[in-house]
Subunit: 223 residues, 2 copies
């Protein structure tokens, strides 16, 4: 349906990870974060017990998780932090370049476009779009905001892998439909609304407000 550019390397490796439970996948970014923090502190190795405690899972669960991706540990020695981090980065695709377009250059869109942590991990925002004439043409983090009307034309010429939706809830579905139509592979949705997306396109929602509600509940309980 869409041109297969932007293909990532390591296809043989990827096949290895088919069938890994989503619950394990969802823990990988946390492994990544803890290991990054250890690497930054120049910690060379960590026992499964210590890493499991950070992750708030059991050591046997941790060993089981990591065994799904290969053999990283050594009995009685623990895990080499840098090696394990490199492997997890590869599994998560952080060693590759992932191209993104961002739609909705309001406050949140601008914050994301300015967040260097993503580009450091290979997530490159290549174009920004908005529908507000006052915003179109302005520059955010070295990118000129384009007219949303040109989204399709842009994606035909320069297909991107991920579309980041930072629009108000009311137009998010319309934008998602456009992104799907023009061959995007994944949608990262910040609009506070659920989206209908065909199965072959992956979606991750960031419902920032949800954690605030949980915090609110917990605080109330304590009073």
């Amino acid at each position: 349906m869409h041109p297969e550019i932007g293909r990532k390397s390591g296809k043989d490796k990827n096949d290895k990870y088919k069938g890994i439970p989503l619950t394990v996948i969802k823990r990988l970014p946390r492994y990544q974060r803890f290991l990054s923090e250890l690497a930054a502190k120049e910690v060379e190795r960590i026992s499964s017990r210590e890493l499991a405690a950070k992750m708030k899972i059991t050591a046997s669960q941790l060993r089981q998780d990591l065994s799904l991706f290969g053999s990283f540990g050594q009995q009685g020695y623990g895990y080499r932090v840098n090696y394990l981090l490199d492997e997890i980065n590869q599994i998560l695709g952080l060693s590759n370049r992932t191209t993104m377009v961002l739609i909705g250059a309001g406050h949140l869109g601008r914050a994301i476009a300015n967040y260097d942590n993503f580009s450091k991990r290979g997530f490159i925002i290549e174009a920004l779009f908005d529908n507000d004439p006052q915003v179109i043409g302005s520059t955010i983090n070295n990118l000129i905001v384009k007219d949303i009307k040109d989204l399709g034309k842009h994606l035909k010429e320069a297909p991107a892998e991920i579309g980041v939706i930072c629009t108000p809830a009311g137009v998010a579905q319309e934008i998602a439909d456009l992104l799907v139509q023009f061959g995007i592979k994944g949608i990262w949705n910040f609009a506070p609304v659920s989206l209908k997306i065909p199965e072959q396109v992956h979606v991750e929602h960031v419902h920032i407000g949800e954690s605030l509600m949980i915090l609110s509940f917990q605080i109330q309980q304590q009073e």
Copy 2:
């Protein structure tokens, strides 16, 4: 330890919710979102089957979830959307006013300070703090950014319930310690780092990047 102002009403009600599993609590914001969307479309009632399908849980799971909070449904009739939404709003404390201070008025901090969806639900940011002389004194959404040095003084005079950390990772722990010291009840952390917080203070982390990594993994698998 800290003055008990900002106390919420409905204490007797709150006690009712003690011991509800965290997995159920974590689903409540999603119930809230789906029900809000239905209410906005003026849908009056919904069957447990339909609502469960939206939630991607079984109807019996849904009935079990909601039975923990009281008796909301009627056999063969379904749930009244507005009534159930009101109840869930109360459970989550969205019917009350929750006071917040935000630290770190960079791009993300500004986006959050400008996000009206939170204030609509009773989450009121009362003060913003930063350590950058160029940012201190500037106005964001009608609030003047204060000097981080005055955080303690401010919280003594006007205790807040939630501290929102939008600082770089490197200073987040220091800010969290200050917030705890000055009697904050909950921390909403956007800094990409894990924090050590005493047990009596609740923390919710928003690791925006985690969902991007999961999306990256899923896209890779498809290639």
